[in-house]
């Protein structure tokens, strides 16, 4: 056809443009087109002109060749621009459309940054998307393709936000795009897409899930298998998957079987936990609702315990690792057999001795996690045996069931001698049980969670400053004197135990605390304070209102702008205390809530 020769000619012209027209004169391939062009030119003036232009180029002197080439190119281009095809040969069907009324009312200046955040890399994208979600910008359906695409983003918080919060709001409107972008061979993003499709279609997505679970990439398969755990009809299929070569797939299958909890599923889980797949079966077993499964694990653990107490030393490590897995899989189970198992565990001296330390800890934690009065009572009795190895567990349980003074009387004697076995562990546990300083400053201590006053005096005597700070609770002149002494003696605001002492002084209501804090700041040579952590900043707000001017004056002496601002903010809080107390009364919230809101 005559159009084809024009494209052929364009190919030659393009070639000469790339190669340079210095050698175009007499070009053979160009020349070979000339006869056909001239023939067509007999009946059409356009071809005639093109033919002439080709002729000119072929005969051009090197100096004129460039001009001739561009003249020919321009002419040819103009002609070709009128020859573009606008139809397709394909069979097309009318578009079905949807019943949604997607709107497009978000203007460019708001929409574009959201699209950029979804499709490009860079800082601050998550915050931007959260804000966009808050402003309802995602309601515009033009964001949808980009939002579905960003499920594959490598910054995992973004896909998480999109999957859990943003995309569910579209409802069925998102289905088309999710399906369109779903690639069963894809990665984690496609697993998320599959999950969203299943959220929308529920049961009717089963066929798709089975297809994904058979043909998909590992990520997609695992997700599909886990989702199939909701459908009993898939039992056979899931059991097959539990025999897969890939560990990830087996793990997914166990999760699904755990949700299914049919007899066959339970058998398969037991087989896994008691066999080679122990490690990946622990969590599925733990999360399974079946009591029968728990019972079987308890029985198995019980037998294992017996073997452990009788075994040779070289076998002990292997057995105790096995036991640990069983214990882990029982975490959170409310089965009465668990307590029985633990009781027999802790009373079998040989078994405990054969256990590695992590296993002992697991067992002790499990006992405390039961949170049953009976379990706690049993745990309390673990203070003396095993060379006081479980003193911490015992103390924690005792703190739950005993009064403050009983607790002191039972455990304090063990601390008299710091070197005594268990004293160190007991001190550590005391630390764990006390709220950390910042939580205390912002939230206050829970009423009733106070220590017996004798603890603080005991620690003062032992000169354990940190523990004095933790346990001091009520007005006590002895403790006050001890702490004030500590704060006066070479104390610095940058030392953490000074901060702790001050917090304790404020807590026990010492009148000297504010002055002590203020003078520490003023005389401490703190000019180069370059950072104030949250605890120290919150500590400053404990000052009474009358200290506001001094605090502000102190702020002015600081070199670093950010610290200056922090101190000024603390001064603002101090200044507004009366007003805050009123407000707090009105709203019924504590003054600490108010301080918290001000310091953030």
């Amino acid at each position: 056809m005559s159009i084809d020769i024009l494209y052929e000619l364009r190919g030659e012209v393009r070639r000469i443009f790339i190669a340079g027209c210095g050698l175009a004169a007499g070009d053979i391939r160009l020349g070979s087109l000339l006869p056909r062009l001239e023939k067509l030119g007999e009946s059409s003036p356009v071809f005639q002109r093109i033919g002439q232009s080709v002729q000119k180029l072929l005969q051009a002197e090197p100096a004129q060749a460039a001009n001739a080439l561009m003249e020919l190119g321009a002419l040819l281009q103009s002609v070709l621009y009128t020859q573009g095809k606008t139809d397709t040969k394909e069979e097309l069907m009318p578009l079905a459309g949807t019943s949604f009324m997607p709107h497009t009312s978000v203007p460019y200046r708001k929409l574009q940054p959201v699209l950029a955040a979804l499709t490009q890399k860079g800082q601050g994208r998550l915050e931007q998307l959260q804000q966009a979600d808050g402003q309802g910008l995602f309601a515009d359906f033009r964001v949808l393709p980009a939002a579905v695409g960003a499920l594959s983003d490598s910054y995992s918080e973004i896909p998480e936000l999109l999957q859990r919060k943003v995309l569910p709001k579209y409802g069925m409107q998102a289905l088309h795009e999710l399906r369109k972008q779903l690639d069963l061979q894809g990665g984690k993003g496609d697993a998320r897409r599959l999950e969203l499709i299943h959220d929308l279609l529920e049961e009717s997505a089963q066929d798709l899930l089975v297809q994904a679970a058979t043909e998909g990439s590992t990520d997609v398969r695992s997700t599909a298998i886990m989702l199939l755990g909701r459908y009993e009809s898939q039992e056979e299929f899931l059991l097959e998957q539990a025999d897969d070569k890939k560990k990830d797939i087996r793990a997914a299958a166990y999760t699904a079987l755990s949700a299914l909890a049919t007899d066959k599923a339970l058998d398969r889980l037991k087989q896994a936990l008691f066999g080679k797949d122990r490690d990946i079966a622990v969590i599925p077993v733990r999360e399974c609702r079946s009591d029968e499964l728990a019972k079987t694990v308890i029985d198995e653990a019980d037998q294992l315990l017996r073997r452990l107490s009788a075994c040779a030393a070289n076998e002990a490590e292997k057995l105790s690792a096995q036991l640990q897995a069983y214990l882990h899989s029982l975490t959170g189970k409310r089965h009465p057999g668990v307590l029985e198992l633990l009781k027999s565990l802790f009373s079998s001296q040989q078994a405990v001795r054969h256990m590695t330390e992590p296993v002992q800890e697991t067992a002790a934690d499990l006992l405390l996690d039961l949170r049953l009065p009976e379990a706690d009572a049993f745990a309390v009795t673990l203070d003396e045996p095993y060379k006081r190895r479980f003193i911490g567990t015992s103390f924690q349980a005792a703190a739950r069931v005993m009064s403050a003074s009983e607790l002191y009387e039972r455990y304090a004697p063990m601390l008299q001698d710091g070197r005594q076995a268990g004293a160190k562990e007991l001190r550590r546990t005391l630390n764990v049980l006390s709220p950390d300083d910042l939580t205390e400053l912002l939230g206050g201590r829970e009423p009733g969670a106070e220590w017996d006053p004798r603890w603080a005096r005991l620690f003062a005597k032992l000169d354990e400053q940190e523990l004095v700070c933790l346990t001091a609770s009520g007005p006590d002149s002895e403790i006050e004197a001890y702490l004030i002494g500590k704060c006066r003696n070479k104390a610095r605001f940058s030392h953490y135990n000074t901060v702790q002492s001050l917090i304790a002084l404020f807590r026990i209501g010492s009148k000297e605390a504010p002055e002590l804090l203020m003078s520490l700041l003023e005389d401490g040579g703190q000019r180069h304070l370059y950072y104030l952590d949250e605890t120290r900043a919150a500590l400053l707000t404990l000052l009474p209102k009358s200290y506001e001017p001094r605090l502000r004056a102190f702020a002015e002496t600081l070199t670093y702008e950010s610290v200056k601002e922090q101190v000024q903010r603390a001064a603002d809080v101090v200044a507004g205390k009366d007003e805050a107390a009123e407000q707090a009364e009105e709203k019924g919230t504590g003054i600490r809530e108010w301080i918290k809101s001000k310091m953030r």
């Binding site: 393009r14 790339i18 340079g20 561009m70 573009g84 606008t86 009318p94 949604f100």
Partner: protein, 478 residues
């Protein structure tokens, strides 16, 4: 005055300013918020990083063009403090009634006097403003310099054509770029940009074949531009009274920056005009070194589709208002039209807006072209001209939208089909959105399309930008 959040958004120069202004309001950075007794002025104080707060105010003495004042040194105007003040007002925060501060009152009085004086001179000055005089010998001199520049440009592309695109290595490209910079001395900025547009793809990292095709096309355009420019400027060099070319974009392509007054003098003003924006986009033009904000508008009376274009040089982008999608009907008083093709550029200085009604959409849909072959013919007629806009935009009526996998097409009432595709020029896919449309929008509506000729495939493709139904405008781009 009616201050809404959307109104304040519209005042802001860019998205960043919107956020900063809003944040100031959210963070309660305004210890003082006041409104004058007559309600015409709002003013307040905003905490800044310094000791003294910034004093900002908005004066609605003339509600159509409020006056903003702020004591901060920012070059962005209106600054974030003014925006924050307005957001606080739109948000319904409490504004105390207070007398206007004396320094602000002084400024107001001065402005009022200026306004009066202006009116007086306008009333006193008889009839039309004095016709501008032009220095003819300077014009001749300028044309001579321009011709000299064209000669240099011609030499450059002849050199490229001679040695071939394949022979251009980074070193020779650098040399060419340096020479292109030289063109800046000859009053032909348009040609200089065309030269940069030719060199730009050659330096980019796109595929080799694509690069060559694009460069060849640019060379051909440049060749024709230089040829026509030489003829045109040659005439002017001989006779400085040769009129400016008002039919084509030639003057602009050489580098003439049309002034509104000049266009008006040449009879290119449109009178009172109602316009509705059908699509908007903004892109970075690397060769020009500018952001371009582009709006496509239908003139309600004639059905012509015009373009608005704001250029924001990269370096000054922060200080120039970033254009935005406009949803209202704009009633522009006397806009001017630039010489050009079917989507000629227009510009206006004063306008008021009103909410669009169903009848507007009905009217616009009615103005759509009914026949695909005729529309295609019109497009081809334009793009075959080497110096034309190669991406015309048209509103077309369709009876149905068709699909098969990723292929889409529309059908007109005579059963002709037009294939739709995402075009390279826009670099922003929209066809993927079509399956999500409401079923009611798929029959007997109108579609705004941008065309592009794909030389390699021999196809003329059209990408949907928007859909106009009887009641609404669905924007597929922005």
């Amino acid at each position: 005055m009616n201050v809404t959040e959307a109104y304040v958004d519209g005042l802001a120069l860019n998205a960043g300013a919107i956020k900063n202004g809003r944040d100031l309001m959210k963070k309660n950075s305004f210890p003082l918020l006041c409104v004058s007794e007559d309600g015409a002025v709002i003013f307040g104080e905003c905490k800044g990083s310094g000791k003294e707060p910034y004093r900002c105010s908005v004066d609605f003495a003339n509600p159509a063009s409020p006056v903003f004042r702020c004591s901060c040194p920012s070059r962005q105007f209106p600054c974030k403090h003014i925006l924050g003040l307005l957001y606080a007002y739109a948000d319904g925060r409490t504004f105390q009634t207070a007398p206007i501060p004396p320094d602000l009152q002084e400024k107001r009085d001065k402005a009022e006097k200026r306004e009066e004086k202006k009116k007086e001179t306008a009333a006193g000055g008889s009839g039309s403003p004095a016709k501008r005089k032009t220095n003819k010998s300077a014009l001749v001199k300028k044309a001579a310099a321009q011709l000299e520049g064209i000669e240099i440009a011609e030499k450059l592309i002849r050199h490229i054509a001679h040695s071939g695109l394949g022979s251009l290595d980074p070193k020779s490209l650098q040399l060419l770029e340096d020479q292109a910079k030289e063109l800046g001395n000859y009053y032909i900025p348009g040609i200089q940009i065309a030269m940069k547009e030719l060199l730009f793809p050659l330096r980019s990292d796109m595929g080799k074949e694509e690069r060559y095709s694009l460069a060849m096309e640019k060379m051909l355009t440049l060749h024709v531009l230089l040829k026509r420019g030489r003829e045109h400027l040659g005439k002017r060099a001989e006779n400085p009274d040769t009129p400016l070319d008002l039919e084509t974009t030639l003057e602009e392509r050489i580098g003439h920056a049309w002034q509104m007054a000049e266009l008006r003098e040449n009879g290119l003003s449109l009178g009172e005009t109602g316009l509705l924006q059908l699509a908007f986009r903004s892109y970075a033009d690397e060769a020009r070194g500018e952001y371009v904000d582009e709006g496509y508008w239908m003139e309600l009376k004639s059905g012509s589709i015009y373009t608005t274009r704001t250029y924001r040089p990269f370096r000054a982008a922060k200080y120039i208002r970033e254009d935005d999608s406009v949803y209202e009907v704009v009633l522009a008083s006397d806009p001017v039209r630039y010489p050009g093709d079917m989507n000629a550029r227009i510009r206006w200085e004063e306008a008021v807006a009103r909410q669009p009604q169903d009848s507007d959409y009905e009217l616009i849909r009615g103005r759509a072209k009914a026949s695909i072959p005729e529309a295609v013919k019109q497009v081809k007629n334009q793009i075959k001209n080497p110096l034309s806009d190669k991406h015309p935009v048209l509103l077309l009526r369709y009876t149905a939208i068709l699909q098969q996998n990723d292929q889409f097409a529309i059908v007109d009432e005579a059963g002709n089909r037009l294939a739709l595709a995402d075009i390279r020029h826009l670099a922003h896919p929209t066809t993927g959105l079509l399956p999500m449309l409401n079923e009611g929008w798929l029959k007997d509506q109108a579609m705004l399309l941008m065309f592009e000729h794909d030389m390699e495939q021999g196809r003329l493709a059209a990408q949907p930008l928007s859909i106009v139904t009887g009641q609404s405008l669905i924007r597929l781009m922005y």
